[in-house]
């Protein structure tokens, strides 16, 4: 570790000692408290210059090297600060898509707003377009200077709290499914938008259903050209599979102490079976962190291959499942008693049943593990693609 990095670590640690929110876990038992905590903490981080270390240097708070980012994330996890769930989509998905595809005017308008706390969500999935995302049916019809949008979106994380939405719509039904898609920036306060929260298996409502009924979106709010939506959406998704995992894997490493505490509480410090499971988990966490590091170095060097990000996501999602499953097992009967969840507590809250259920967010959302395995085998390993059409044997 170089002196400069050590200095940064001390800086961040000292800053966190003075600024990290205390008792937020106890407070976050309602959505209102969650929103207040998230908004307050984001504003404070932005002021301290630690909210968006992964952004390019021309934006305030950006321009940190990977090594610096890692230190910031490790310290944030170490100080047990809330993860920025509410602004996750804004600072990662929306920002990175705007950096890559936004016009100068769009960037100048939206990037500062994100820093001021504007909340974004993603409107990609639909009832008929989950893993098969190109099957999007929500229609956008051009009428003069606006698109008129009709349809339904599903699984929009934080959709019920958001101001803006990254929206994937169909502008044409001709040719390949992918070629008819267009990417819009939707104002969720626009007339005709209804957001309905979805009640999840752990009791929280982290995502929403969006109903779009003759919603008008100005043509100026389009990212990329008409028909380029698929390519723009890929850049949004690859941000999720790549950059975010550096932070998340560092968070998971920072939370290994929760398992250690459980082992001690249960008096099983000398139980070889438990030690082995914990040792294997800790090594898998280290390996996932190393893989995320390696992936980002590859991306920065311009040597990223299609499928590399999927390796990181799959490694993370499986290790997170192992982490929460070991906690649940060690938690024994105690973990079976219902405990109110902490809204926005993240994946490592110590409420093991809730954490375990929450880990599905990473094996299903953002492209399920199965989709990642398709990408890895087909794109990275050159195995043949799934046939485009199929018929059921014996069908008429």
């Amino acid at each position: 570790m170089t002196d400069a990095l050590e200095t940064l670590r001390h800086e961040v640690r000292a800053w966190l000692e003075a600024n990290a929110p205390a008792d937020w876990r106890e407070a976050c038992t309602s959505h209102d408290a969650f929103l207040a905590t998230q908004r307050g903490w984001f504003a404070k981080l932005a002021e301290g210059g630690y909210a968006v270390p992964h952004w390019p240097a021309e934006w305030p708070g950006g321009g940190r090297s990977l090594a610096e980012q890692k230190i910031i994330y490790e310290e944030l996890a170490r100080a047990d600060t809330p993860r920025l769930l509410l602004s996750f989509m804004s600072t990662y998905h929306a920002a990175s898509t705007l950096f890559e595809w936004g016009s100068t005017a769009q960037q100048q308008l939206y990037i500062p707003r994100i820093l001021e706390g504007e909340i974004w969500c993603q409107g990609f999935s639909e009832p008929g377009a989950g893993s098969d995302l190109a099957n999007v049916k929500t229609r956008a019809e051009r009428r003069g200077d606006v698109y008129v949008v009709n349809g339904q979106k599903l699984w929009s994380t934080m959709g019920q709290f958001a101001d803006k939405c990254l929206l994937l719509v169909r502008t044409s039904s001709d040719g390949a499914k992918q070629a008819g898609l267009t990417y819009l920036l939707l104002d969720l306060k626009a007339k005709g938008v209804t957001a309905r929260p979805i009640h999840q298996i752990h009791g929280d409502e982290e995502f929403a259903e969006l109903f779009l009924d003759d919603v008008e979106v100005p043509v100026a709010e389009r990212l990329g050209e008409e028909g380029q939506g698929w390519a723009v959406a890929q850049s949004t998704l690859s941000s999720e599979r790549g950059l975010t995992l550096l932070e998340l894997s560092a968070r998971m490493r920072g939370a290994l102490w929760r398992i250690a505490d459980l082992i001690r509480e249960a008096g099983r410090e000398d139980d070889p079976g438990i030690l082995r499971d914990f040792g294997r988990l800790a090594t898998n966490v280290d390996a996932t962190c190393a893989l995320a590091d390696h992936f980002l170095a590859t991306r920065i060097a311009g040597e990223e291959r299609v499928g590399d990000a999927s390796l990181v996501k799959l490694s993370y999602s499986r290790t997170l499942r192992d982490y929460t499953a070991l906690g649940l097992r060690l938690g024994g009967m105690e973990a079976q008693y219902h405990t109110p969840i902490i809204f926005g507590g993240g994946m490592e809250t110590g409420n093991w049943m809730a954490d375990f259920m929450n880990s599905y967010a990473w094996t299903i959302a953002g492209g399920s593990d199965e989709v990642q395995r398709n990408i890895i085998s087909e794109r990275l390993l050159g195995m043949p693609r799934e046939p485009k059409s199929w018929t059921l044997e014996g069908a008429a």
Partner: protein, 327 residues
């Protein structure tokens, strides 16, 4: 590192690639010595290349990839021990001979035993045996020991039991605290080398398996089209990629402690075992034959799991360390 990892990898892969899998032992050994790969980690003022752990990592992965026979891992342990023996008058001369390819070998079993050394590669053609004891590290001439061949399943390696006669003394390379520190370093180096060998082998057999799945047709389509098989292969690739990333990060981390290198070894050998096991399954009947190369990887993978302390041991150590780290 004056030579980049990619350059070194490229030259090693080319050199070993010419001999094919599990090439002739003598030719391979000559090549290893000639290319200077035994002196990678030796400091420059001792006639070495001073390239450190990352460079030896490249050599070990390439040795594993081509299933190269011979005592390279053991020889590098001897060279490391000699390199540390600053007070020994014969040091430079012995070091030069070892770097040049005169076989000097050591146990790959892991934790030290007195009297009987097990899993010593190529002891029958060695001039010296390294003996690592808690308070003393010595180099014993082969004339002072009894060497018994042990036939093992993995035919790419030749292992021996070595019994020290009561009077064997040998040259003292380190004593007391220095010996304990050296012993720990050697054990870490062994674990790292076995991890590298395993990851090279795992990568090679995975690639061969994917090639086979693309080639072999059943039900009028390549096996590689079946999603059940694609997903299995994708899982293997993911585990391997994570293990490789861990390997190179620990290679660069000079402060990595023994349990961390042990955890790496457990991870890498487990990945190798899983991939080699499934490779036989995915090859079907042909994978069960001696003519096919699958079994060579499977047997070397199983041997690597057993050498240097097994996963049960190292995962437990890693668990203890992680527990203490958050005390």
């Amino acid at each position: 590192m004056s030579m980049t990892r990619a350059e070194l990898q490229d030259s090693a892969r080319k050199a070993f690639g010419e001999g094919g899998l599990a090439a002739n032992a003598e030719t391979s050994w000559g090549l290893i010595a000639e290319m200077g790969w035994l002196m990678m980690a030796v400091p420059e003022d001792q006639g070495g290349l001073g390239l450190g752990r990352e460079a030896t990592g490249v050599i070990h992965t390439e040795l594993g990839r081509a299933l190269v026979p011979g005592p390279a891992i053991a020889q590098m342990l001897v060279i490391e021990a000699l390199s540390a023996a600053n007070g020994l008058p014969e040091r430079d001369e012995l070091l030069a001979r070892a770097i040049g390819g005169e076989v000097m070998t050591a146990s790959l079993a892991g934790s030290g035993a007195t009297g009987l050394l097990r899993c010593v590669p190529d002891a029958d053609r060695a001039s010296h045996i390294l003996v690592v004891e808690p308070a003393r590290v010595t180099l014993v001439p082969v004339a002072d020991v009894d060497v018994t061949p042990r036939d093992i399943w993995d035919k790419t390696r030749r292992l021996f039991d070595v019994r020290l006669s009561g009077t064997a003394s040998g040259l003292v390379l380190a004593e007391g605290d220095a010996a304990a520190a050296l012993a720990e370093r050697l054990e870490g180096q062994l674990l790292f080398a076995l991890a590298g060998d395993s990851l090279g082998g795992a990568d090679a057999i995975l690639e061969l398996t994917i090639d086979y799945l693309k080639l072999r047709h059943q039900f009028s389509r390549p096996l590689a089209l079946f999603q059940a098989l694609k997903h299995r292969v994708a899982n293997m690739k993911t585990w391997l990629a994570a293990s490789e990333a861990l390997f190179w990060s620990r290679a660069a981390d000079t402060s990595a402690a023994l349990p961390e290198l042990g955890a790496l070894k457990a991870h890498a050998t487990s990945v190798y075992r899983i991939i080699a096991e499934d490779a036989v399954q995915l090859h079907g009947g042909i994978g069960l034959t001696m003519e096919h190369h699958c079994h060579l990887f499977l047997k070397r993978a199983m041997l690597n799991c057993a050498l240097g302390g097994d996963s049960d041991h190292w995962e437990e150590q890693a668990g203890r360390q992680a527990l203490n780290a958050s005390a």
